[in-house]
């Protein structure tokens, strides 16, 4: 009927500060009204008739794909909320600390009715700076939530030393190099950095650049007064030097404080690929489709910007497990390098096989 309602998914392990952030979203004067879908253990302090309890029912789709799961309760609740669509501007879905974000995200791609009415805006993960390292060791859910995130709110930084903070950030980056990372106390991140991010918008897919390799540490910016924050969205479309290091995870240029350590997580990692050679779509699409069909259960997120031979347009795609969504985005500009870039984040990814397969996609 009109614009799709944006949906923010708020994840995070137990006690990280999700509820604090949620209460801020519901109480701060930002001029927007949110419907909130909370899990049964939610402890929202706000009385609001647009707060709905969910029971996190994960349903398998009957299509033979083991990772094609959806949240049945979300389908039902979003349909119900849409009966009141004039009453709110956006939806926030809070998950339990033990939830896998994938079925939530996939609901927007696999259910046509939900996809018609609502769009996934971003997965926001709140992490506890003090305890995240332990959780990454003992809780696979915590690792999934970090791997899946578009935005990570690294909370309770007042409870750790600078060294510990650097350590936990490096652990996060070993798993997920592209998420926006905010260091906070009491979840005090400007809400504009959390809401309405358009992270799943194909037009914004360029945010795959590993943030901590970039210029200075603008992703570490945080402040306590949203009114005085300006946006730091200058990650768009700047050209890269042609001789740029191809494996970004090991670059050190511009690392803040010289304190960054580099880790390889034992089972969760990202594989980033880039090439200046134009790709052949007749080779690339069969390859990527076969890759997600066979390795989909291991691949949590994928994003890419592609330059195809004889195609003036940038092609962008993103995916969750076996589901891929892609489109022509816009013509390449004169002043940007026509470079293809892809990031896969997942568990036990066959990196060498992926690299070799990608290389064969050159035109």
């Amino acid at each position: 009927m009109s614009e799709k309602i944006p949906v923010t998914v708020l994840t995070g392990y137990l006690g990280a500060g999700k509820t604090t952030l949620l209460n801020r979203i519901l109480s701060e004067p930002h001029g927007k009204k949110y419907a909130v879908i909370v899990n049964e253990f939610g402890e929202i302090g706000i009385d609001n008739d647009l707060v709905v309890n969910s029971d996190e029912e994960v349903f398998e789709m009957n299509n033979g794909c083991v990772c094609c799961t959806v949240r049945g309760d979300l389908i039902r609740i979003i349909e119900g909320l849409m009966r009141r669509r004039g009453k709110f501007d956006a939806i926030v879905v809070e998950t339990t600390g033990l939830a896998d974000p994938a079925p939530v995200a996939q609901t927007f791609f696999l259910d046509a009715d939900v996809g018609e009415k609502a769009r996934l805006d971003a997965v926001v993960t709140v992490a506890d700076a003090r305890w995240l390292r332990d959780r990454l060791r003992d809780a696979p859910e915590a690792k999934n939530q970090i791997a899946f995130a578009d935005v990570i709110v690294l909370n309770k930084i007042d409870l750790v030393t600078p060294d510990e903070l650097a350590e936990v950030e490096a652990r996060i980056r070993a798993i997920n190099p592209y998420a926006r990372l905010h260091r906070t106390e009491r979840a005090r991140v400007p809400l504009s950095e959390v809401l309405d991010r358009n992270a799943f918008d194909l037009d914004r897919i360029l945010e795959i650049e590993p943030a901590f390799l970039g210029e200075a540490d603008h992703d570490h910016h945080h402040c306590d007064d949203p009114g005085h924050c300006h946006h730091h969205d200058h990650h768009h479309d700047h050209a890269h030097p042609a001789d740029h290091d191809h494996d970004h995870r090991h670059g050190h240029d511009g690392a803040p404080q010289g304190a960054l350590k580099h880790y390889h997580d034992e089972d969760m990692q990202s594989v980033s690929l880039r090439t200046g050679k134009p790709l052949d779509p007749d080779k690339f699409f069969p390859w990527v489709q076969d890759l997600v069909a066979t390795e989909g259960p291991k691949i949590l997120r994928s994003k890419g910007i592609l330059s195809f031979k004889n195609d003036p347009d940038r092609f962008v795609f993103q995916g969750v497990h076996m589901i891929l969504d892609g489109d022509h985005q816009r013509p390449w500009r004169e002043d940007e390098a026509r470079e293809s870039r892809i990031v896969f984040i997942g568990r036990d990814l066959p990196e060498e096989k992926i690299r070799q397969g990608f290389e064969k996609c050159a035109a």
Partner: protein, 335 residues
């Protein structure tokens, strides 16, 4: 308005309604259509064309059913409300945890059923409320045509429950996946469900044999039994799909009858109570009457690119009401 085409049209006989919010369903109270709005109220059009707005819920109206004499609605305010032909509304039940009432349906002799979360409730003829919990959230409810028996659709199957027989264990029919809409064939021999995927599933109750009907483009959101129960009319395609249930083996091994092909998705069906005629509504606003014997079509109305969301015949079959996503609706005398 381009009603001057060759196909016959009823659009000059429509009494139009403009509701303030989306129409999500319509049911008749006698000869008066009651449009169920997405929020708060019913909009009833009486015999003289006067409009009456009846507040029934304090928030969204999530589900509704009508039996000709009354309408039952379930809301996100946790209430089950029955509105009768005197336009009096009363709460039949209030969920003690104020959960959403996801589904409601009338049964025989004024009984009714509703669900909140995983629990299905019935109110029997003695006004006793009984409940039965299933393993996952209830996807749909339907009473059997005979006997006081309720079908509860849920994840991985549907459960048949005799609410008045406390010693009888509920009987679950299994099939993997999420079952949403549910309906019994008129002869009570088949139980049919619409699934999360664009397929219908069914069971022949006598031998629990599975039926699976596929080929839909979208989830089947609307199902109706034609007069006499000969066909199950369904939405979910760009034409009317009718599964034959007459004959010994029902639809098993048979192809559906397909009528009224069109360029937009068919979203809503309603069956005439006496004749083999089905009213269909499409995603682009077209409403047609389709005669099953020869596929003849009569245009009821062509709306401006708004999805038809509601259709109903009056019990005598003389009137048809329709409603749309943008609050437009109407009622037409079929004579």
């Amino acid at each position: 308005m381009n009603d001057t085409q060759a196909a016959p049209s009823l659009s000059d006989r429509i009494h139009r309604v403009e509701a303030s919010s989306p129409i999500v369903a319509v049911h008749f109270l006698g000869r008066s259509p009651a449009f169920v709005l997405g929020e708060e109220a019913l909009l009833v059009v009486d015999a003289d064309g006067g409009e009456l707005r009846l507040p029934v819920h304090s928030g969204a109206i999530l589900s509704s059913d009508g039996n000709g004499q009354a309408i039952v609605t379930g809301g996100d305010d946790g209430r089950v409300v029955v509105t009768d032909a005197t336009m009096t509304s009363a709460a039949a039940a209030t969920d003690d945890k104020r959960r959403w009432i996801d589904h409601v349906t009338f049964g025989p002799d004024g009984t009714l059923a509703w669900s909140a979360g995983k629990t299905a409730f019935v109110r029997n003829t003695r006004n006793e409320i009984r409940s039965n919990e299933v393993a996952s959230t209830v996807g749909g409810l339907a009473f059997a045509p005979k006997g006081f028996r309720l079908a509860i659709a849920h994840y991985n199957g549907a459960t048949l429950w005799f609410p008045n027989m406390t010693e009888a264990r509920p009987d679950t029919f299994s099939w993997q996946g999420s079952h949403l809409g549910v309906t019994f064939s008129r002869d009570g021999k088949y139980l049919m469900t619409a699934m999360q995927e664009p397929v219908l599933h069914g069971w022949r109750l006598s031998d629990r044999k599975d039926l699976r009907m596929s080929g839909y483009a979208a989830r089947v959101r609307s199902m109706a039994w034609t007069a006499g129960g000969d066909y199950l009319a369904t939405s979910g395609s760009d034409q009317l799909i009718l599964w034959p249930f007459k004959g010994k083996d029902g639809p098993m091994g048979k192809q559906p009858k397909m009528l009224a092909p069109y360029s937009a998705r068919l979203d809503v069906v309603a069956a005439h109570p006496a004749h083999d005629i089905v009213a269909v509504g499409y995603a682009d606003g077209l409403v047609l009457l389709v005669r099953l014997s020869d596929g003849a079509e009569i245009t009821v109305r062509k709306l401006e690119k708004v999805a038809v969301t509601a259709l109903a015949f009056s019990a005598d079959g003389h009137r048809l009401a329709f409603g749309c996503e943008n609050g437009e609706g109407g009622v037409v005398d079929l004579g």
